[in-house]
Symmetry: C2
Subunit: 187 residues, 2 copies
């Protein structure tokens, strides 16, 4: 009755196993600030061993080509996907960045790095302003409040200094000196 051969069923089972992984990726990719549907796109590309075109993605996910275009772009932004070229192929081709360490580190240097830089700047400015106010303050209560705020901002700046060092340790790979990669068979 079954119209499929044994081997065909195995291919189907492989699809099921892949689907399990894709679902897991899609569920948690929001940590990278990417919508789940685009996580699914990433997962699909992850198992697709050839570079994919926007049309192929559109077919594979049943979504519009426009969505694939913007989706791929956001994956490119966080370097989870790369553009490739191939002789005589006119369409844009994309492959996933398979090294998940790199993706993780890049997330930090981009999203977190930008936030750190911005907040550090703003907090420094605020600190400056508060120091200026302190110069002119006479009211004792005001002066106390200003001191408390300064202490907070100094703590915050220290924290950002530390975070920057962490991000740098990611970027340079120095973090592996402290937390080595689990050695696979082939170091």
């Amino acid at each position: 009755m079954s119209g499929q051969s044994n081997q065909e069923k195995l291919w189907e089972k492989l699809e099921e196993a892949r689907e399990r992984v894709i679902r897991a990726i899609a569920t948690n990719i929001d940590l990278y600030g990417v919508p789940s549907s685009i996580g699914r796109l990433y997962g699909t590309m992850y198992f697709h061993d050839e570079p994919m075109t926007l049309d192929e993605m559109s077919d594979a996910l049943g979504m519009s080509k426009t969505s694939m275009s913007t989706g791929v772009r956001s994956l490119l932004d966080i370097k989870m996907v790369q553009k490739t070229y191939r002789k005589g192929v006119r369409k844009d081709l994309y492959i996933v960045e398979e090294d998940w360490y790199q993706s993780f580190f890049h997330l930090f240097s981009s999203k977190w790095g930008r936030a750190i830089q911005h907040n550090e700047k703003e907090i420094s400015l605020a600190k400056q302003q508060i120091e200026d106010i302190y110069q002119q303050a006479e009211d004792e209560e005001l002066k106390e409040t200003l001191s408390r705020d300064l202490a907070k901002l100094e703590h915050a700046l220290e924290y950002y200094t530390w975070l920057k060092k962490l991000v740098k340790a990611f970027e340079t790979g120095e973090i592996f000196e402290f937390i080595p990669k689990p050695s696979s068979r082939n170091p």
Copy 2:
């Protein structure tokens, strides 16, 4: 013409400086998966040196008390805010967790930790499934595909093992052995 004393203007200037910081926090708190308006709530509490009630928050932000209730809850979830008590006060009181290192580390052990655990489990299951398929596979092309997928999943599992170690180094504070806190005047 100005109805304010010099000192009153200084208080206003302080508000401006604080507003600068609050805005910076609100802008970037999405990295913690929290909406910007609730980041503003956090910032407000950060500078409010006394514990706050939901009604005070509501007044301070011009938002509904219900929003404050759910907002505070999400900040509690990620341990950026704590509940406190005070003799003879009936209302719930909340203060911010001022140690930003702790907040950062907690983000990892909660949000990232949960994601790691989930993905690791699903990927292990998928790997198992694929190994089972491999046993039954005869088609050479299928077998090659299965091998490639297995290699990918093994790499992924290694990555998660490493990530777990990183999270643990955060949780235990061991990370400071590698990246020491910038020493303030008072160690």
